[in-house]
Symmetry: C2
Amino acid sequence: MQVITTECQTVEVKLTGNRKAVLLLLQQQQRPLSAYEIIDLLRPQIGRIIHPMLVYRCLDFLLEQHLVVKLVSVNKFMVLPEGATEPGQCLICERCQAVTFSQSSNPLQQQRRKIAASGFKLNQQPVEFHGICQACQKDDNK
Amino acid sequence: MQVITTECQTVEVKLTGNRKAVLLLLQQQQRPLSAYEIIDLLRPQIGRIIHPMLVYRCLDFLLEQHLVVKLVSVNKFMVLPEGATEPGQCLICERCQAVTFSQSSNPLQQQRRKIAASGFKLNQQPVEFHGICQACQKDDNK
DNA sequence: CACATTTTGTGATAATATAACATATCATTA
DNA sequence: TAATGATATGTTATATTATCACAAAATGTG
């Protein structure tokens, strides 16, 4: 058993070598990675073939511990930025794939409360909005 | 060229046999289907092997025409219920996979305006919330 | 009709994810 | 410390979702 402290929280978990490697990678990259991107980036570090199952199992664990979130609309995994304490939202650009996370603002929190009041029990993952980011809109006008 | 009228809109499109079959199936089912569910359900109707490309091409076309929406977080496709005129939201149960669509309520519309004001151009797809539906919560308590 | 464009048919393959089962490691306690 | 049970890892195979590439057929237009 080991204690780990992230920007967001301190948890007592079995953070084994593989799990730690995946978590550290995601923390370093500060961007969403697909499971297979993780495999490719981890390979040089670990120095042997990495089977998908290994990575998916690490990710499952880290998701359970809320150390990592999954962007279900794009099948990618990321750590939330420092200080993120609640589900929040992600804006995902369909052109350049950039993802920007931000804390829930008032209307979204209100919406979440409304949904909860209706009896539907929301999970703690960020809500994902899709569209075109400002940079890509500018590129389109050139 | 053909004119088609759905509950939501009238568009002039090349609604060929395959495309019409996919659209009708989704309208009949009134629930999200995966591409491969569509293949399986369409097979008896069409009476020969259906390649995935056929279905994905029909779906691409129907998505472009906004006759169908894709639930990106679960890789399924559905027609919006009658009278749906704006993006709205879907509540997706992670236990039983039930999906309920509803029109955007005020806070969500406000949130969308906020995002738009920040310079991010939202698409017109429903926002997808994940959690556990009321029925499944009750089942859990048994 | 002739020609260009769009749609369809088909095989192959890419990308994402899980099932199943054997082996190894860790934790507990007799 | 050895026995035991629980947890984690290694590995193969396979399921699921989606796209590429190219040929053939159908359709629209001058």
